[in-house]
Symmetry: D2
């Protein structure tokens, strides 16, 4: 089977990781080009990974006939525009979350991508994490009976810089969105409404952006299930991602705080190191989502997580933000309830 | 030092446990009488524990000059009335939570007890649990810097019978109240407002009492800290009580799911048994709170947890219930803000 | 039922703990006398625990008609002599391990105690530890099929003082003896031979007594099962007692390193405190073994762990010491194979 | 940098895994040929991995000028012969353990490989496991002071087939050899003598080969340190590999039983799945050892684990086997103490 010729757009921390993974760890993938608006970064990465072509111009690579798939890892504000361009180019699209920070734009992107018929996978890497996958498999096998409640916790080791916060869309769209997606994935139901609250506990500066550094969302699902999502920017101790799915016959707990299977016993107690960040926590998931994508491209299959999932997670985040601002429960609009101008 | 002559009022599951503990495990305590409205139960318990006196009439024992301390473990609806009677008798009072289901009555009870000058300890046993105590000591030692967020989870193995639910005052006053108290204890600040949501996930019958079997309370504390409390009636897998206190320099996690330090490894995985209920989970705390109370009585010291703590926890629970009903954030009234008729 | 009138002989750390437990935590026990060769210690303990009688003369208390049970917690060298005297007195005997450091003397003690018909329980407290008991119950319930291998680890936080080592009988009789007993208890078979090795890893001074501070015993059981026992004096990090029982269908792991159910997460990792010593690790077992003994006395039942168990554990320890010295596998002599002069 | 052109000899379970890893997960490696004595297997694997060349004749591939490195994953009996041939060919050699089952042959192989000057890495993958590496780094950083004792446990989920046992060289050379190597690695000292015992606990058929299915080795290291290694063939519950390194200031525990970070809580307790076998347990290590080897080849560096390490581990295993047979402590011969005919 022919290798899938890949181009990575955006070479920040995650884009760089995707590029490395495509170059060395994803069978069937061939990294043929990298792109960044900073030419020095693009050139350096190309050299480092032994890639011939680098660019600062998306259109140049989108027009290339010897590129099969585009990986959009650029800043969020460019996601929708690039997604539409990739759709027009007919290439396969791997799109980082969120689709957009604007719900109408996200809906329009869904329509554009679906109309084009291109293959599109969203970068919700948690779905490919071995622990989440195993939990999902256990639910499917009936281990907990009917799922009734989803509990998610996402704590970052420290708040991002103020410039990031300013452009992030807020804690709900930026941090909790991964939990909204995984909650839908685990419960296999749509979220119908959200009640969200939050506080500025430590990063006083986020108040300038009407944002908080700690948030709690209460979700109601179709059919009467519920859930809650905690987000915190300043856990200090490390990167802490957890989930629980409570069912009629059991509860599944997904954890993963430990960095290595090594414990130090001393007169200061029993101690192990904690995972420092998302790259380390989801190391395997970041590879496996790419492997899955390449397989879909090679075999013409539909990705298990697509552009509509991107819309749904954003719709929950948007409702959560409004709930927080208006101090009331807010319904989550379905795709067909959003006006696309 | 003379033994403290004790009488236990109410011989349900917890009252019976208190009676056993006083009879056998609490140095300085002498169980001299037991009381229950069901004479057979009172008589049987007296015989079983080698206690001479049993009764169905509180007034009879309250008038006895050879009884020093009364342990009120009767149904909640009788707590306030009995507390006032004990206050009038001048005896020491160990009072189970909640003080009342009515905030005005609770405030009046605080006034009556405090005016009488009797020694009074509330039955918030978690404060005497070795794990919570150790966490508190670590906070005091500066291990987590300034506490910023409290997270509490209380899951019961299965919902109580419908008759219990009907008289319980609802999930906030009945189940979350322990977390409200321990949150105040750990954060060393008062809660100023609550936003509460909830769902009927499994026990459909609780809807008849405008109650839920799953609830989430978001707490705001003086000085900008916050917290959330999850309550669930139907965890099925066991009794699951947890707490986390997030601070500026670290986070403390209080857990305790494991029944014994025994793990079975087999081709079905690694398995340990889970604690079945509150009596087992707080076995040591139930003894230690009585030991502390008896010491206070013997040494004329003020208990570390008193009737005002009972009021505060109920005030949070009452605000939470209203928040749930009115779908808005509700302020927690201070003791002096409550009209006592 | 009448209270059992108890006298504790020997008020070192463990004797003092037994005295406190009998005075305050053991239903049916009444501590009526304490004894120590140091009169000040006996008097002080009596005052502290509200006990009327104290003595330095065993014979005085053994002759008392108002004492029902003697708890021998004196130095090992006096165990056998005192046990025989208690046997002659006809009182019930709770005897700390080891019965003796001399196998012939131990055998003679067994004969004397059994001939007298007194009730006698050995102080192998691990058998009453909730974790070991739960493991035993699981084995009885068939959870691991047929037990094939026992693995025991006993690590002390630091080596005892040199004077203690000199009189201890060596690491096998002093430290591993608890594991030999619990191995027999778990496997429900006798040990037929031992191969033991050891090293002086840290406490160089023990070499003067032909002792080691680290030892490993390989046990062969009747019927083909086996096991190994590790002992170490200088773990530094805390008191670490573990066991594993490997069977044809599963393996049970008994652990218990954690001091409290509290974990501190910080930028130094995930940390919990470790149990510091045997008093803390076996706190519950030290009470429960006394409760069981008092119940046996009150109900005329035979203790589950008797003087023969004391002989068997010592026989294994004696064989282990010889194996270590002679660098060969040594058979464990049965009681009837020992000449009693 | 040019890709290293690799050929894998031997396509059993591990050889197949190496071939997959070289083809897809090891940057800088190019799998150009596979070899197996079964032509169908060689051809099938070549097709599956898109490799042009396959063979049944080592000499053919050893003579090829367009192959840079040979991975010997054939049956143990062929290791020494093939290693010498690779040495003659001048290619780089990745050699699976053990070097040989015969100590003289192993010594001769060391001499031949070293005389040839080729680059040679031994397949002790545990050294590349993230947990062992992290433990080693902590020792180097002084976390436990001076290492005094090494404890290793290796339990296989079930005994290999009888034909495998017959050719395996016995439990010491086949199973414990990994622990002997990792013990040397962690302690950074040579083992000077071994005392080994063992039993046939379950797999009665191994007795026919003078082998056991359970073994315990006691190691003495240069400078007075010690250690023990447990091996068991029939753990049934899964693949259980552990290590502890006790030092003067702390103890490191390396574990890794859990298959996924998922726990199921139900009325049957708290449960997680256990790793089934070595491929899953050392998944990352099997990739990382190849990455390290390829880097050494590309940069002309000496591998961190070489052919002498293969000799040393075998020398311990050989001494252990003799110790078991002769029931006495046996010295471990250094390389220069072995006659090479």
């Amino acid at each position: 089977m022919d290798a899938v010729r890949c181009a990575v757009f955006g070479l920040g921390r995650l884009g760089h990781q995707h590029a490395i993974n495509l170059a060395t760890r994803v069978p069937g993938a061939k990294l043929v080009a990298v792109l960044d608006s900073v030419p020095e970064l693009a050139e350096k990465t190309a050299r480092e990974l032994g890639v011939q072509r680098w660019s600062t111009e998306p259109d140049e690579l989108l027009a290339a006939t010897d590129i099969d798939a585009i990986f959009v890892v650029t800043p969020t504000s460019t996601h929708a525009t690039l997604a539409k361009k990739v759709a027009e180019s007919g290439k396969a699209l791997f799109l980082e979350k969120p689709v957009s920070l604007d719900l109408e734009e996200a809906a329009a992107t869904v329509h554009a991508v679906e109309a084009s018929g291109i293959l599109c996978q969203l970068g919700f890497m948690r779905r490919f994490d071995p622990a989440y996958k195993a939990a999902k498999a256990q639910i499917a096998a009936g281990a907990i009976g009917e799922p009734l409640y989803f509990k998610g916790i996402s704590r970052d080791p420290q708040a991002p810089p103020e410039t990031y916060v300013a452009a992030s869309g807020g804690i709900f769209a930026d941090q909790s969105i991964h939990d909204y997606d995984i909650a839908r994935f685990m419960m296999e139901r749509e979220v119908t409404s959200v009640s969200a609250v939050g506080s500025v506990l430590y990063s006083k500066e986020v108040a300038r952006y009407n944002d908080v550094d700690q948030a709690l969302s209460y979700l109601r699902f179709e059919g009467g299930a519920a859930g809650d999502i905690e987000a915190y920017r300043n856990a200090f101790y490390g990167y802490d991602i957890r989930a629980e799915i409570l069912g009629t016959e059991g509860t599944l707990v997904v954890s993963g705080l430990r960095q290595q299977n090594v414990t130090l016993l001393s007169n200061r107690g029993s101690n192990y190191e904690i995972l420092p960040g998302f790259i380390e926590r989801f190391k395997e998931a970041y590879v496996d989502e790419l492997i899955a994508f390449i397989q879909c491209v090679q075999q013409g299959e539909r990705p298990s997580v697509g552009v509509r999932d991107g819309y749904q997670a954003l719709a929950i985040a948007t409702a959560a933000k409004r709930s927080y601002q208006e101090k009331r429960e807010v319904a989550v609009p379905g795709l067909n309830e959003v006006n696309v101008s």
